[in-house]
């Protein structure tokens, strides 16, 4: 820390960070362009018209609504199952313990398309029609690992003697869970849940294979990418999505800062 980095290195770092973040500023500018048929730069004029236009679009609202409901349901399943798995892996050593972690991480370690087409082929083999729940099942499967990782990290940091002390003092298992374990897990659960929500809200690869004709917000954006109609509306929605996901991510980052430090 005492010495300064060479100029070339500092410039490289600044360049990489700019590469990661500058595109957002450009799309922000495009929300206000008067040109709606192309992406011409610089914009020929600036206007606020696209915000009310986007607000009035039914297809956007329907897609947003579906995405929110799917994310809520998938997060619910992932929080319950991920927490159970974390509790099991933390409290005892059993045969195949490593296998549990591997199994949970597999859906995000393998290319998303594998999970997607696997679910798709299972649905077609069993002749299950696409529905709201086929999307939720896919999402919960790859969201579980986020909750699991967060909760497991918190378990490892919480001292076991706390639970023993509570039991020694006469609390029942249920009371110990309610008054000792749950409060210590709360912020990790919240963080894991928010990350799972963000992950589900943004997912497209698996969703494409399990949604049929339904449009989640990412699928709506993708359809605008390939067959654009009123491009500035897409820009407004894109900026909204970035801002809406940034908040839970920042919050989750704050809530679990200490877990990763230890």
């Amino acid at each position: 820390m005492t010495d300064r980095a060479p100029l070339a290195l500092r410039m490289a770092v600044a360049g990489v960070v700019a590469f990661l973040h500058a595109p957002f500023l450009i799309i922000l500018l495009y929300c206000f362009t008067t040109e709606d048929a192309s992406f011409s730069f610089p914009p020929p004029g600036l206007t606020l018209d696209w915000f009310p236009v986007a607000w009035a679009r039914d297809d956007v609202w329907r897609a947003l609504g579906l995405s929110l409901r799917v994310a809520a349901a998938a997060t619910g399943v992932a929080v319950v199952l991920g927490t159970l798995a974390a509790a099991a892996v933390h409290r005892s050593r059993f045969f195949g313990r490593e296998g549990v972690s591997l199994l949970l991480i597999l859906p995000i370690a393998l290319p998303g398309i594998v999970t997607g087409i696997a679910l798709r082929s299972a649905l077609s083999l069993m002749e299950i029609p696409f529905s709201f729940w086929t999307i939720v099942v896919g999402h919960a499967t790859f969201c579980m690992v986020v909750v699991y990782n967060n909760v497991l990290a918190r378990y490892r940091r919480t001292s076991r003697s706390l639970v023993e002390a509570s039991m020694d003092l006469g609390a029942t298992g249920a009371q110990t869970f309610r008054y000792v374990v749950l409060p210590s897990l709360a912020s990790a659960l919240l963080a894991g849940g928010m990350l799972a929500f963000a992950l589900s809200f943004d997912e497209i690869i698996v969703t494409t294979f399990t949604a049929g004709q339904q449009q989640t917000l990412p699928i709506w954006i993708f359809s605008q990418l390939t067959r654009p109609r009123q491009r500035p509306v897409t820009n407004v929605v894109a900026v909204f999505v970035v801002l809406a996901t940034a908040l839970p991510i920042l919050l989750a980052h704050r809530l679990t800062r200490d877990d990763s430090a230890s």
Binding site: A5, I26, S38, V100, L110, A122, T141, A174, A238
Partner: protein
Amino acid sequence: MLSRLSTWLHVRPRIALALLLAPPLAWMGVVYLGSLVSLVVQSFFHLDDFSGLVVRRFTLATYRDLFTRAHTDIVLRTVSMAAAVTVADAVLALPLGYYLARYAGPRMRAALTLAVLMPLWSSYLVRVYFWKLILAREGVVSWALARAGLTPLLDGLLSLPVVGGPSLSVSALGTFVAFVYVWLPYMVLPVAAALERVPRSCLQASADLGARPSQTFRYVTLPLALPGLAAGAIFTFSLTLGDFVVPGALGNSSLFIGQAVLAYQGTAGNVPLAAAFTVVPMALMAAYLLVARRLGAFEAL
């Protein structure tokens, strides 16, 4: 009642463990592993050309179909793209990881980590869309190059065979840039984690012993960053192999594995061939994971 139950379970840890594990394992076992099995099973069925229906009988016909020229081209194209993207991300991630580990103070480190984490979690699709907009023929990159008088350079690049195209937003080059952009955080984090574990004294020792900074980098930093690079490559490689959004948005008519899978399972109704196609990235990733483990990638995750 509840408290009796919880006490009963507390003295019977095996049963408690089974109750904890059963729901998540049942879910993953039935939904996920079951689906993977059905995927492999499907790849041994085939599509009847005349009726357009899937024939549920064991056959290798679908795999024979996979090894025709048109399909191996798709696989080769995807794998070369994945390799190129991985190398480019490694080149971009190294300075950032090195700076984080060697020079950044605590505040700077927290800020930079967040700067890398935010895009990792924020909308991947929107970040692909960024490039559609930036690389468009009438977009900001063309404009900046024109202002700098470099339009001939851009035209030259676009007229190249294979990587070129009518504009950056419809070419292999554009696909490459967008891939590098969206997967970069996945490479930076493990590289930074690997380099963070290198004691600063190690680098100082190298300097004290007379190594130039470039030599320290070449003989000390780079080998120690290798597990991190191998870990990051798991993600950049795997994610590129299975993606259809980036080539769909920015590519031309030459397909990638992901697009082929999507097309075959969709309107074509050829789920068996789509299934056989995904066996390729699965096999490639399994092979790579074996190599990565030898490089120590799992410790760097």
